[in-house]
Each structure stands twice: as C-alpha cells, then as structure tokens.
Symmetry: C4
Amino acid sequence: MTDSKDNNNQKLSGWRLKIHEIIFEADTFWGKTFDVVLLIGILLSVLIVCLESVVEIRAKYGHILKIAEWTFTIMFTAEYLARVLSVVRPSKYIFSFFGLIDILSIIPTYLGIFFAGAHTLLVLRIFRLIRVFRIFKLVRYVGEAKQLGMALRASWAKISVFLIVVISLSVLMGSLMYLIEGRENGFTSIPKGIYWAVVTLTTVGYGDIAPQTVIGQTLATIIMIMGYGIIAVPTGIVSSELVKSHKKEITTQVCHHCAREGHDIDAEFCKFCGSKL
Amino acid sequence: MTDSKDNNNQKLSGWRLKIHEIIFEADTFWGKTFDVVLLIGILLSVLIVCLESVVEIRAKYGHILKIAEWTFTIMFTAEYLARVLSVVRPSKYIFSFFGLIDILSIIPTYLGIFFAGAHTLLVLRIFRLIRVFRIFKLVRYVGEAKQLGMALRASWAKISVFLIVVISLSVLMGSLMYLIEGRENGFTSIPKGIYWAVVTLTTVGYGDIAPQTVIGQTLATIIMIMGYGIIAVPTGIVSSELVKSHKKEITTQVCHHCAREGHDIDAEFCKFCGSKL
Amino acid sequence: MTDSKDNNNQKLSGWRLKIHEIIFEADTFWGKTFDVVLLIGILLSVLIVCLESVVEIRAKYGHILKIAEWTFTIMFTAEYLARVLSVVRPSKYIFSFFGLIDILSIIPTYLGIFFAGAHTLLVLRIFRLIRVFRIFKLVRYVGEAKQLGMALRASWAKISVFLIVVISLSVLMGSLMYLIEGRENGFTSIPKGIYWAVVTLTTVGYGDIAPQTVIGQTLATIIMIMGYGIIAVPTGIVSSELVKSHKKEITTQVCHHCAREGHDIDAEFCKFCGSKL
Amino acid sequence: MTDSKDNNNQKLSGWRLKIHEIIFEADTFWGKTFDVVLLIGILLSVLIVCLESVVEIRAKYGHILKIAEWTFTIMFTAEYLARVLSVVRPSKYIFSFFGLIDILSIIPTYLGIFFAGAHTLLVLRIFRLIRVFRIFKLVRYVGEAKQLGMALRASWAKISVFLIVVISLSVLMGSLMYLIEGRENGFTSIPKGIYWAVVTLTTVGYGDIAPQTVIGQTLATIIMIMGYGIIAVPTGIVSSELVKSHKKEITTQVCHHCAREGHDIDAEFCKFCGSKL
C-alpha cells in the first residue's frame, strides 16, 4: 500500500503533489485546515438549500441565498477540478464513490438554470460529509467507527434472519388488519395495512391509521406486546457483538514463531503453535 | 436420521427420487435453483394479492392481476401434486406443518370462484416464505438463527415472568384511567383503557385516545416513565443471553496436561502450559 | 423456617391442616389444582368486570354478568373465610399483603349494593394474580424472577440517578417549550409542557400536543435525539447487570475449609482461605 | 485538595466556619439537614412556578402563590448572601457554575416587578436540584453516577460517530420526503422534512405530519425498519461499556507468586496457586 502510494506521489509534479497533499490528505497542517474549511462549507451549503425551501425565507432573502448557492457551487467546482488535476489517474477518481458524489453535488445548480426544481437535489451534498471521518483518521474516531462497523458486519447474518421474520410478520399482520378493519376505518388496502403494521411494530405509532373495532384493537394489543419483545432482539445482537469485540480488544500480542494474533491476555503460550509468547 | 432418509430415498423410483431431490432438498444445483425460483414466485404472488387490494390498481390492471394470480395458483398446485407424488408416505407430508401451509396457499383462489373475498386469504402464502431458511441451510444463516432461537428459548422463563407483570400492569392502569378519565374523554370501557395502557407502555403512542384531565395526564406521565424502565428488561434479557451464548461458543476443550479450560475454539495448543490439545 | 412452619402445622387440627395444605401450598396435587382453578377464576372475574364496562355488552348480557360477578364474589368470600379459619393466627393473615388484597377483591361487590360505581374497584382482583408465581415455585420460574429482581435491585442506585436526570430534564424542557410555543399551540401551562416533554423523551409521542413554531420544532428535534441516547442508559444498566449475574451463576463450588461460595470456574484454590478446592 | 481546604477553613472565623460547614458540606448532621430542607424548598418553589402557569389555579390561588414565591425568593436570597459571606474568596463562588445558577434562580422574581413574564424563568431553579447528588455523596450514589458517567465518556467517540450518521440520514430522508410528498401533504419545507425524519427515526411518531402518498409511505416504512436497527446501536454501546466497567471493577491485583491477574475484588488468596495476595 505505502509503496504504490509513494509511486503515485513521485509521478506527480511539484505543484500537483502539493495540491494532492492538501486536498486528499489530512496529515499536514494545510491538509487538515482544508478539510475543516471544506466541511464547514458543505454544512453551510446544505443549510442554504434547507433555508431556501422555506417559503417565507425565500420571499425575503431569496436573492442572497441564490448568490450564496452560486458562490459555493463555483468553489466546489474549482475544488472538483483541482481534485481531477492533482490525481495521477483522473478517470479512477472521477468514477470512484467520492468522485461521483462530488460531481453530483455541483451539477444540480447548473441544471437549475434549465430545469426548475432541479437544485433541490443539492441536498445530495450532505453525502460529502462522510469525508468528516477522514479528518478524524488522525484521532481515534476511525478505530471506533471500524469497531462499530465490524460489530454490525459480524451480526449481519443474525440481523437479516431477524429482518425476514419482521417483514413476514408485518405482511401477515397488515393483511389480517385489512380483513378485520376494512376500508371504512382507514385500512384501504393491504399495503396500507402493512404500513400500519410496520408503524406499530417499530413503536413509531403515528396514529394516522388506528384500529377502531374491538377485534382490531385486540390484535393491535397483541402486535404491540410482540413488538416489545422484537425490539429487544437487534439491540441484544449489537450489544453482545460489542461486548465480544471488547473482549477481543484485549488481545494484542503476536507470536514470534507463527506470527499469528488473537491470544488472550492470560495466555502464556501461543495457542496455534505452542511456542512461549 | 441419515439411515432412515437413505431408506426413504431407496424406496423412491427413478423419476420420483429425482423430483424429491429437486423439490425437497437444497444440496444440489437444481434443488437450490428450484428453491430460489419458488421463493421469487411466492414473493411475486403475495405482491399480486397486495396490489389487487388497492382500488385504483384493480380498476386499471385487475384483469392482468387475475391472470397472474391464476397462473401462480396453477403452478403452486402442480408443485403441490409433485410434492405429494415424490414422497414415500404422502399422508405424512399432507398433514405436516408445511403441507398444510402449501394447501392453504392454493385453496383460496379456487374458493374465490364461489365466495367473493375468499381470495384475500391468499396472503397466507407469505408463510411459505419460511422455506427461505432451507436455502440458507447451506450457509451459516441457520446457525445464527439457531443461536438466536436458543437465546430466546433460554430467556423464555424470564420473558414470561416479565409478560405477566406487564399485562397485569396494563389491566390495572387501564382500569384506573377508565375511572379517572371516563367515557367523555375516549376511555369508553375498561378494555379500551387496557388498549390505551398497552399503546402507552410499549411507547407506540397512537394518540387516538389520550388523557385530557390533569390527574389522567399525571398518571400517564408516571406510566410512561415506568414504561421506559420496563422496555429495558426484555432487551437486557436477550442481550445477556446472547453474550452468554457467545461465551459458550468459545470455551469447550480441556487441556490433557494441566486440565485447564477456557481455550478458544480455534486453539490448537493449551494457552497455559503449551501442550497440544 | 421449616421448624416454625412444622410447629404451625402441628397446631392445626385435622381438617384445618388439610385445608391449609390445599389453599396455602402448591406442593401437593390438590394444592396445585386449587391454585390453578383459583387463577382461572380470578382471570374470569376480571374479564367479567372488563366486559361489564362495555356499554353494548352490558345492555345485552348485563343480567348474566351480574349473576357471574355475584357467583365469583361468593366463591371468593368462601375462600377468604377458609383461609382465615385454616391459619393458626388469623389476624396475621388478615393484615398481611395478600390478606388485604383478598378482602379488597370481594368488598366492592357488597359495596355496590349501596353505592353505584363501587364495583368497578373489582378490578383490584387482578392483584390476586400475583399468586400465579406461587404455582411456578415448583418450576424454575421463581429462580428467574429472583434473578431479574436481583439485577433490578443491584441497578437501583444507577437507575435512580438516571431518573433524577430524566425528570429534571423534562421539567426544564417542558418550561422552555411553554415559553417558546405558548398557550395558542396547546402548551397551556408548565405542567402541560412537562407532560409533553415526558411523552417525547420516552418516544411515546401521542401527538395530542406537538410544537408548531420553527424554534419549538428545532428544540423538539434536539430533545428527541437526546431521548435516543437516554433510552440506551436503563437498557444498558439492566443488560450489564444481567450479564454480571450470569457470570456469578457459573460459580458453584463451596470451599471445604471455610465453606464459602463464589469461586470462579477456573479457580483451583479457595480465594478466601487459600485451601485447595 | 484536603490541605488547601483545611487552609481555607482555618482562614474562616468562628461563625463563618460554622455556616460554611452547614451550607457547603453534607458530612455533619446539620449540614445534611440543611441540604435536605434546601432540596424540598427547591422542589416546592419549582412546583409553585408550575402551578402558577395554570390559568385556573392562578385565578383562584394567585395571591397565595405570589406570597409563597416571594417567601422562597427571600429565603434563597438570604441563603445566597450566607454563601457569599461564608466563603474565603467570594468572587470565586459567585462566578462558579453553582454561584451563577444560585443567582439566576432568585433574580427573575425581582425582575418580575418591572417586566411581566420574567418570573417564568424561575424554573431555572430546577438546576439547583443537581445539588441533590452532594447529599448522596455520603452514600454510594456518586460512585454509581461516576461509573455511568465514565461509561458514557468512554463511549463518546462511538456515540459521536453514530450521531453524525443519524443526522446525515435525517437530512437526506427529510429532503427526499419533501421532494416526494411536497407542500400539500404537510412537508412544507426541508427543515420540516428533517423534523419529520427525526420524529420517525427516534420512533416518537407524533403523527402531526405523516406521509400520504404511496411512495412516501413506502420510504417511511424503510426508514422505520432502519430506525429499528439504528436504535439498537447506542443501547449496544452503553451496554457493552457498562459490562466492560463491571469487569474492571473485579480485576485489580496480581499474585506475587505466579504473577497472574484476574482475581475478584474480595479475593484474599490467589485462585491459581493458592498463595496469599
């Protein structure tokens, strides 16, 4: 990894290398400053899109917001071009996840000239916030994110089993409620019933559709108590996975013989080859 | 188990054996393909029933949906007959859990000719989705499902104690609210009050019935804070049970030398004395 | 304990001893049968009170329900008298927790002759259901209930710290919302605001009162995300306490020297006196 | 710490020292009594502010409440002056966190003479309740609070990663719903959409804004099921952190003989080799 990266950097000429270090990395002072400024810019530009959608604010400050939006778009366009120029293989960046997000977060403003409403898509800029984790790379945040991610990935099989059960249950309960309550009580179709079942099982409970008949309310009561137990399952899965990862966290030593990790803190001998640690 | 199964298979003639392997098992290529196709079919047929219940869609595409429903029903009927034929003792399959589900998922269409509305019962087909776990048997999903199931079964005694407490509490709180709020505020009967208490304790909170008087709202506040603590209990039970099952996953072997336990499942040498396990 | 109990039983004459064994204990066949019948009776009598509160049902079956209520009340009165007679010191039973519950669950019917509405208090009978745990004494249920209870008691200090924080937060947030939203948006007083804050923090969310102004909705958003984190705390407390109790569960051995329990599963020597286990 | 405190106390003259001990400490009988009385006073004064905001109560008992409020304010003012006088460096107390809270909880009444409505700020007095933890210092409550606080601080990095994900998700989902549902269904602006997304993700679900279109309800269903998984994460984090802290509570000492760790806090002898710890 480090070798290929050095190679890439060596291919870059003086000013391109400098721009690359500032824009793509967060190890130097200027690189970190650039990322912080970029994040503030992203947050502000998202805020502007949000404010512009409020009728009263647009009526009053519409002009200023329009100027601010264009300023940010031009700045982000310049940044995008700088990114393309300071990379050894531009096509690789352009079609990467971040490259696509970056272009998607500037195009809507230009499209907005021709198509009304297109600029609402600017909210896609919020995706650029994912870069925030790069700044934190220097700190311990990425380790924590990785641990969380690992715990979630490890429990993926369990969670997918759980999701199939929840969805099947929702379909069944939604259909039953459609049969019991019927069109006159808001359950106008099976999909509507399923929507109600999910709203209830997840304990959201809008109340826009609620059972009216005695049988419907009885069934709803049973579903709610079931939902009580069901909500415990994903929580239990994630908790136990994190407890497990904590335990694994303790293991640090590497065997001198077989160079394998994963020994317990109370281990005196390598559990794979039997040599003393 | 394997013996009796081999026996059964030997009793089946050539084509029946082949059909049995394809329909009932998921170990061969064709067996797995059949199951995947079947699952997609089940999902599509449930989707059709859902769509048919939407008035607007039925008005427009009612004819196509009717044809699709009949196509699926005929296919499922053929599959059902194939299952009956390819089994050594058909009566055993017919009255098994899956056999009953399979017949229940085709009958409603035929009943629909004579009785209007009967075909809504087709949603029972969703139960057939439980077969999905058989495909996953090959992968590690079933192990995870088993672990989840074991954790839930192990915590069943604790959860049933918890459920009795919650239900008693709901009955009591519902009756109290019926006395406090009375008919004019929506609490028209004790069952209605119990329904409200469950809606509140499970934090669903539809808002179709809500306390209006000061005393009622004070009691509701206390119930909600109690519900806060109560929801922690099933989660804690499942979490601790899963943590426990994780621990079991790890410790199994005992060292022959020092007779000490606590080795990881991937350990080959004792971590305390270094002798081979 | 066993001595004093033997003493008490010896003091009882033949038929009183027999009644005592049937009514108060669940170790013999008849004792268990009596308890099961009693529980079914309690459930039915509570169900009758519930049904009687429904206007339509009372209009139709009011007469039958009245008779059923009186039948159960007379049966429970007989049972109460039998309990008083079959106990060595009746006054001790009469003023015990169960004694008071038992008398409270029959009085309302008699009071109902003189005061209308008094018989709604019959729902207090549900408290008698707590006896259900006595039947389960024979099975492992009580052990589980004890473990749950111990975990809750052990985490009581943590939970009370948590409750003080939650209540302070609710008072503060409720007052702020009263100031921000004001009377015209449903926040008619500070207590109403506190009620709203609890409804929101516990994620119940009736929606009978909801913020209308932009500042109010912003504050509500912050409260909800805080509530997200807050709901994790009691769950975490109970989970960790139950995990801890599981760990304790593993310790079984008793030291031959000092006769103290609580050793780890991997302990070879008593941790209290140092003698070999 | 103790030295500088002794120094401070020695500088105080006779009656100032006595007042200091009563007001600022909770180790002596009078000190504890003072704190308990103070807490009751704070609770009562907050209750009065709450009651005064109820129109009906103010109309009836407004005069009494006014007198009570002034009584508490004068008492708290006297207490504040006593605190200032009995401290060696008054400026240090005045500008401390508690000093500011103390002055903020008496000023509003005086301001209320000149500005109507100012006295609603008296609810700030609830902050003074934080002192309650000082009384509990004598008991084990502070230890528990510290353990909870430590667990929360330890999991702060994980929780902040989680919060960034949740907020990004809310912004994106809110914008999508604004585009899908539009102004006519209550989603009048992107901030309103974000408000809805938070209400849904946190499972509060007021129902003041709810999706009406089929696409909107489908997206809402997906968001709710996601929210189900998401709510598991903070709970899992806190649980695992508390489990970890429990484990720490146990392991401290190392055996001098075999240098092995993992002994319980109540262990007197090494559980591995039997030598005294």
